[in-house]
Symmetry: C2
Subunit: 342 residues, 2 copies
């Protein structure tokens, strides 16, 4: 996501058209931004945060009144419930903009949206360095490239920079540390295809597998570590991420393989500790029916996320370093954010 | 699978066309039977065993020589490596037919194929009764229908009778014991659509979910038991079944939910104990690429089965009763089959 050449509209890529076609997306109103997020044209927790921030800037440009901004914030917040980046970005922009006088609000909102983007790029880079150190530990003495299993797309497409889970992968590849990525399909929206597309463009060796194949790979000794993103991590280290993450974490524990989560602080919800407090988005059953050729009357459940309890997480790779997935671990790295009352 | 009205050709349903269309399949040569099995027009461990048996009968009808039968047996055995029912059925028919004189061979082969079918129907029925007793135990005192999670299709379509994993479900429904079935999609071949189609026709309440949703369902307390089929169970109780079974078993253990396997003795390989000796079929990557819209150059791995170790299996529901998933448990129920030297 970025500003268009005209300096006010917002540009991105329609991810529902990838990998088949690269169709640009131009957002000119907060309602267009909200539609893009709800339809998953724009997706990935960090990217929807940044897009929502720009959505508020678009709203402020059209009408900087309190009522206008509050309506836009409500509309943008309602698009998707699970990723905390969305509420975080909206709160942050509102917090800067509302104290200002009306003529200054649009400029402030754009500036804050740009700051969120710049910080995301910096967080990606830092996560890349911290994750690379973990890969280097695995590579020492190994006779094959480091075998990394990921899920969904926590890549360039899901962020403003080089991705969260993919940042260490791109960095390893650039620095000559051999890696091979197992990319799981990620039904029902097939975000594995996005990850495969990204990795292919960067020349990173990878293999796509069905989600169901991951237990076989892990218990068969073909994976050295798991690395995924997160849509919301609690202050005690429970991780909500794309549906299917939990099954991989269970298999990783059984296989004695580290399970790492790339978690920029923008995705940490300091207000809750238990993962059961995270709202899990239930999406339309047509997403599942379509692939199966099932008629509309077939009952379908389509939860979009699951919660991996902290006990299954080997570490949270944040922009400040690798935290133990626990309240103590997060409090240690983020004393400025951690709330004793959460 | 059954004899056609003409008394010699073999009829089934082209499962690659379901659930959209019910296209009959007519097999008149062993090569057609082999093609139907390899392409998964006919699928499910018990059904491919029965179809292979009929394939040998078709071969014996065309040419009852040793060379002809041995060529057909080799060709049929080579179609799919994992399900042991295939080799079991072929060995059984050959064992009956080869000692006979040429003019009697076709009749004997048909008779043995019919016996295999009749035994499958009887095994399904017995598994239904033993499984129903397990469901009844779960239903006692519960305030909701018994919530059963299955995977792939171990149903009527996969057997000659009422299915292996589905037999207790149909029986419970017929006898008024409330059940609800969670049907997992079963990528990449989407056999969950077959199970949903079967259950809908029988009026059994069910809900389809992505494979990746099963951890969320299990750890969220929404499943009372798992019940799946098997393509090959070792003499020590390790279970090869459709890829993704292992992940469900791991999540079931974490959720303290029983994980049962409907295992007719035709699917037990008495010659091996460790699941790592089971050949795992690797199918063409196009099965995965198709749904994702990925070009042919994207690397894909497509293992079709995984092995769930006996320690994760709560019980093997056989036609003789429920066995502990262990060498001792199987030896106890099947002293006539169990081999101390395996």
């Amino acid at each position: 996501v970025r500003l268009a050449a005209d300096g006010w509209a917002v540009e991105s890529l329609d991810q529902t058209r990838l990998p088949g076609a690269q169709v640009p997306l131009r957002l000119t109103t907060w309602r267009e931004a909200a539609e893009a997020i709800a339809s998953m044209r724009v997706r990935g927790a960090p990217l929807i945060g940044a897009t929502a921030a720009y959505g508020l800037a678009l709203a402020a440009r059209a009408d900087p009144s309190d009522a206008s901004l509050e309506e836009a914030a409500r509309g943008l917040a309602a698009t998707r419930p699970t990723a905390v980046n969305l509420a975080w970005a909206l709160d942050r922009v509102l917090g800067v903009v509302l104290p200002e006088s009306a003529p200054d609000r649009a400029r402030s909102a754009y500036r804050e949206a740009e700051a969120i983007c710049a910080e995301d790029v910096a967080a990606n880079r830092a996560i890349g360095e911290h994750g690379l150190a973990l890969f280097s530990g695995l590579a020492a003495g190994a006779d094959r490239p480091v075998q990394i299993l990921t899920h969904c797309n926590a890549g360039r497409l899901a962020t403003v920079g080089w991705g969260t889970a993919t940042a260490p992968i791109y960095l390893a590849h650039a620095r000559g540390l051999g890696v091979h990525v197992w990319v799981s399909e990620t039904r029902p929206r097939n975000q594995g295809a996005l990850t495969a597309w990204e990795l292919a463009r960067a020349g990173v060796p990878h293999t796509v597998v069905a989600d169901s194949a991951c237990g076989h790979l892990l218990l068969g000794g073909r994976v050295d570590c798991c690395l995924v993103g997160t849509d919301r991590t609690t202050a005690a280290g429970d991780v909500a991420n794309k549906i299917g993450t939990l099954l991989k974490a269970l298999a990783a524990r059984e296989a004695n393989v580290p399970f790492w989560v790339a978690a920029p602080s923008s995705s940490i919800d300091w207000s809750i500790r238990g993962g059961d407090a995270i709202p899990i988005e239930e999406r339309d059953g047509s997403e599942v029916r379509r692939a199966l050729g099932l008629p509309a009357e077939v009952p379908v459940a389509n939860p979009a996320f699951d919660v991996t309890p902290a006990r299954l997480v080997s570490g949270l790779i944040t922009e400040r370093g690798v935290a133990e997935a626990s309240a103590a671990g997060l409090a240690d790295l983020f004393p400025d954010h951690f709330r004793g009352d959460a």
